[in-house]
Subunit: 458 residues, 2 copies
């Protein structure tokens, strides 16, 4: 065992209130990455974070430009030359606070009520960044840091990390590391320490169906010209069979099958049908009947139209109708292949009474990491030390662009964790952070740093 | 024959330029009926029109209130007690001028360029009202008017005549008449005098499909919860068979079949497939293969989703999705029966994984009038006098709420005509009025008044 000494653990407990005041200050900078008028506040958050890294004695601290919002970089060097290098990823941008009227306190004025701190970004992701800094600072102030640490904090996670991949290519050498620590997911519950070892990937595109060259009076042309809304609806309807399976040609061909071990583990998760029903409020569940919901979330691909729009209240057959097609990918699907499958589906199904096109497609693959990797095992031991129980290894249905990009460009896996909870209301009004869980998280991260070094020297 | 004397015809020609200047003044009042801030301009247009009726020596001129915009009333009494009574309908409200940047001149500053006057409302409907006033004034100034005339000009036609029916019930006696002259349609072409003898009716409702009680992260719930956008799309897709027939149960059961005479007449219209293709710009035509497009427009019902909306660019399965269901009705369908058919369709097709409801439904039946009625024959003779050819009797695919309401409440048919042209761009930018056609229209209306009286005294 490589448990942390008591000194840094105490230091973290003692500096906790000061760090939470700093978190409130950080939350006070409304660094919403969406929208054209966001530049100054986002830049202010980057500057604040760079200053905070310098205060931590980080070296080579820089605010590195991208074509979008900048990336904050810094590093700390371990004493031992053989020490592993961890790249700490985080994002200092936040979602918009709209609708403002639903907040019980000002979104950009963090306040503590009971066991929670409230404010936009307290959980996603500023509070997680501050947990990492609190833990690392506790070690740096009281000991020699046992591993090399690099920090990389981006400002565009909430808008799809659109400039991260180019940045990674440009700074490949500087960013070289053994693995990435990404605290942008969370725990399944306050007593359920959790390590994510899988994420679904993403394919996203816009489908446009067009018919007449101008909006047509529905009295003059109803029953005579194919309404693009009808044609788009039929194309969407045909994308699933009655059991909820996706009908794109070849869609499931390369999907990695679930092993018996996977299935046993997913059946044991605290996420049964009742839990999905209660959390969603849907009248019934839906989807591939051969798989339980936890399997469908983690290991089966899903196609969702997340937006549809056509026409207006005017009595007209519109020129066109649009849909955003989102596909959650699983190993071994690729965005390119799914794009081709969608094209082939449309080619075979679209009637000649309309035209169609696919615009603005993008995507990244799913990820699945080795739960026996030294970093994952080090984190598991650290969690067990703090919680007194082994963590759950969890495959999530969500998607994080940065994870795929780091894998593709740097060839490194991301260790996905974080100390947010499912009811933190991230992206919604009254976002909050459960402080007792955050405290445990800081302690865990300190143990983790020593576990990593212990592992490396073992 | 009861051709008009030369004196009023000459008077109309001589006063033409002055009347067009008045039309420009009328167009200058931006009486857009849509939206909350429209009150003053709409009321100003009503006041202008009441003043114009008084200048015409109309009696009992009043601006009568409704729950919405007011209705302008006035009357003229014929010398002969047995003279028929015509109620002249029109609307002084106009559509919004948006998008303003597409206008070549100011929408509310009417200008003459070549053979056209340009401005919002010059054709729909202010120019048509002024044609009626020009014709009637020419008779009143030079002769005793041969028929009783009542004027009823509403201010809410462009928003569905939402308060007209209540007004008709309240003023039933005052409005008693033999028929209504409604100049709110037009000619099929400048050399094609046209009388409309049929209109489609309307059924309109909002279909809401709902699933989860909050927007769900599409990573966490994709493939697990039925997306309301998918369910709504499938319901819409199922509303037509592959040939374009509507599948609502019993939808076609009561539809009045086309007679051989109807079919011959529609086949002879200057509206073949090529015309619909060219006017619409659609890649192909679509709809019931057993009927030619002109038949489908005039005499076959059509169901169109005129608006669909669900979700957003956020990666979420939305709480709900909405569609506006519009059905153009033909004789002998009723809105109530179509509403029931839609409910039965949804009851039999909607899956239990979602819920649905129909909101805000409304409608009015189709109309089909007797082309041999004395008023229609009088107008036909007047048109033949001016154009030198018999008019086309035309059944339109469009719908006018006022026509159904006047039939239901007052029990009178509407004689549908007007001197607008298909390329007048009503409701769009650069709306215009073809002045040579308008001149012919004024002459036609003068002949019509004498033809009516001749008929009555015959």
């Amino acid at each position: 065992m490589a448990r942390a000494p008591e000194v840094p653990l105490s230091h973290a407990r003692e500096s906790r209130d000061a760090i939470l005041r700093e978190l409130a200050e950080f939350v006070g900078i409304p660094s919403v990455s969406k929208g054209p008028a966001d530049g100054p506040q986002v830049a202010e958050a980057a500057a604040w974070l760079a200053e905070r890294l310098r205060a931590l004695s980080a070296e080579r601290v820089e605010i590195l430009p991208t074509a979008g919002h900048p990336i904050v970089y810094g590093e700390l060097t371990a004493a031992a030359a053989a020490a592993p290098t961890v790249l700490v990823y985080g994002h200092y941008d936040v979602q918009s606070a709209a609708p403002l009227e639903d907040w019980e306190s000002e979104p950009f004025e963090a306040v503590v009520r009971g066991d929670h701190m409230y404010g936009r970004g307290v959980s996603d992701n500023k509070g997680q960044i501050m947990a990492c800094l609190c833990a690392i600072e506790a070690v740096v102030r009281t000991d020699r840091i046992p591993v090399n640490v690099k920090f990389m904090f981006e400002g565009e996670e909430e808008i799809g990390s659109v400039h991260l991949e180019g940045f990674l290519r440009q700074h490949r050498e500087r960013l070289a590391c053994d693995f990435v620590l990404n605290p942008d997911v969370g725990l399944l519950g306050p007593d359920r320490p959790t390590i994510y070892h899988g994420l679904r990937g993403m394919y996203l595109s816009k489908l446009r169906v067009a018919g007449p060259t101008r909006d047509l009076h529905s009295g003059g042309y109803g029953g005579i010209v194919h309404n693009p809304i009808h044609a788009l609806s039929a194309l969407i309807a045909g994308m699933h069979d009655p059991q909820g399976r996706v009908t794109l040609p070849g869609f499931y061909e390369k999907v990695l099958p679930l092993s018996a071990e996977d299935r046993a583990e997913m059946a044991a998760l605290p996420r049964g049908e009742a839990s999905y029903l209660e959390q969603s409020g849907a009248p019934e569940l839906w989807g591939e009947p051969e798989y339980i919901p936890a399997e469908r979330e983690a290991a089966r691909p899903a196609l969702d139209i997340i937006h549809i729009q056509g026409g207006s209240a005017k009595a007209a057959i519109p020129v066109d109708a649009h849909a955003l097609v989102s596909v959650r990918l699983v190993p071994n699907q690729t965005p390119d292949e799914v794009h081709d499958q969608l094209l082939r589906y449309l080619e075979s199904r679209a009637p000649s009474t309309i035209t169609w096109e696919i615009l603005d497609w993008s995507g990244f693959p799913a990820s699945l990491t080795d739960r026996n990797a030294p970093s994952a095992q080090a984190l598991a031991r650290a969690m067990e030390t703090v919680w007194g129980r082994k963590p759950v290894f969890y495959r999530s249905g969500g998607s994080i662009a940065a994870v795929g990009q780091l894998q593709t460009v740097l060839g490194v896996d991301s260790l996905l964790t974080g100390f947010s909870l499912p009811d933190d209301r991230i992206h919604g009004p009254n976002e909050r952070l459960h402080l007792p869980t955050w405290d445990r998280g800081v302690q865990t991260l300190i143990h983790f740093l020593y576990e990593l070094a212990g592992d490396a020297s073992a």
